[in-house]
Symmetry: C2
Subunit: 229 residues, 2 copies
DNA sequence: CGTAGTATTGAACAACATCAACAGCTGTGG
DNA sequence: CCACAGCTGTTGATGTTGTTCAATACTACG
């Protein structure tokens, strides 16, 4: 792997505080690969041979059962995914596919576990990462169980607004089809949900969203730091 | 805290491998408390001052939003809960209440973080615990998003059967009201779901379930190790 | 016993999914 | 550059699933 990419990875919270020596051990066995769009790079149920790091592009994590499929999350640069499976040496619970052309680092899980044993700083960073991911999933579950689909969409839009810088007009950043699956509904329902949100201060055209009444939207959405932040 | 309880806690995977010295540090600041049934011992949004360990009884973890409430999980002896919040020093995302009279150990989060920094064995155990909890929650999310409520109930019954030893008749172990909330439906819907499962080999009377056609149930439920184990 | 919570049932309704048709956009090859 | 294929998104009609509300049984426990 080119040295130039090391520095980018090194800046991640997960690798920031570990020793140079151990970082090099991790990087030595790793390699960068560039994938075209829509390639499945991880398959549910398979042994977790690598920890993945997205350097550019984006990756969808999804899961399947009984011919059905649901989008779990989208991973954007620069961050890692499937660390729990790597650490536990257990099968992947989700599949991953590139949404666009993406550069991805593959770090052998075995090396992750070895360094994890040797480097207390790294171990601590892993815990922080896992704890954060865990809390995110708790929020996801609360979102799913406590809110109806229209409320989930309303809150998603508010979150996306924040992510996009806070302006009252911004892009969705993922296709509606995938957003529907992420929010736990069908594309048709999502389409209708967008129309219903007109009554609560939101209009949309294509992938572009305009919040024309921020207050109305927030009153309807009831965003909550224990679910949305 | 009486020494006698130390040994029980010491056996937990989380504390098994750490040094005596550090274990004592954790126990020194801890205390056991016995709570009556239906007492709220942790409240969503509050700072996470303690890691909790259930020694006896049982505890429900639940979450609320906008006047609604949902059951997230039930914690039984001997295990811990809310470790992610303790480690991150972040607010609780769930509330906890005793379901019955319960003995609970309260370990100051500050001590957990201190020992975590000093004891690599403990750090590793924390990671394992977190990774396991994370994976459980991924499964929960898949269950919620990929399955209809009747399918969730069918799979729940199969899991409960396993937990109860595998016999074709067993107890539900939680009240139906709470089970409904845990499965993401109303009590009325659960009641109807039980009736519908008669067509798939299950009958129930009160809190007692009988699987009179195991094959039919499994064919309907499609249990899957990546969701149910 | 009586009371309070818990579960069941029925009827009406709302939310959401499904199916089918079509509109809009994008990229490709003639 | 246009025609067309392929995909995404929208819309309408319809059906299913699940909720709500209200009434009634059931159970446990004082």
């Amino acid at each position: 792997m080119p040295e130039s990419e090391h520095s980018e990875i090194r800046k991640l919270p997960l690798f920031r505080d570990m020793s140079d020596e151990n970082f090099e051990i991790l990087m030595r066995g790793s390699y960068v690969q560039t994938f075209p769009p829509l390639v499945e790079i991880v398959s549910e149920g398979e042994p977790s041979d690598f920890l993945h790091i997205v350097l550019s592009g984006s990756v969808s994590l999804y899961a399947t059962w009984n011919e059905r499929e649901t989008s779990m999350t989208t991973v954007r640069p620069v961050s890692t995914f499937i660390i729990a499976a790597s650490i536990k040496d257990a099968p992947y619970l989700m599949s991953a596919e590139t949404l666009e052309k993406s550069r991805i680092v593959l770090v052998p899980s075995q090396d992750v576990r070895t360094v994890f044993e040797q480097d207390p700083q790294f171990a601590r960073a892993v815990v922080t990462e896992l704890a954060e991911n865990y809390r995110l999933l708790v929020k996801t579950t609360k979102n799913l169980k406590l809110r109806a689909s229209l409320e989930r969409l309303a809150n998603y839009i508010l979150r996306q607004q924040k992510r996009a810088g806070g302006a009252n007009e911004f892009d969705l950043s993922i296709r509606k089809r995938r957003l529907a699956s992420f929010l736990g509904m069908t594309p048709e329902s999502l389409s209708r949900a967008f129309k219903n949100l007109r009554d609560h201060g939101v209009s949309s055209k294509g992938g572009r969203v305009t919040i024309f009444d921020q207050q109305a939207l927030e009153e309807f959405a009831h965003p909550n730091p224990l679910i949305d932040d």
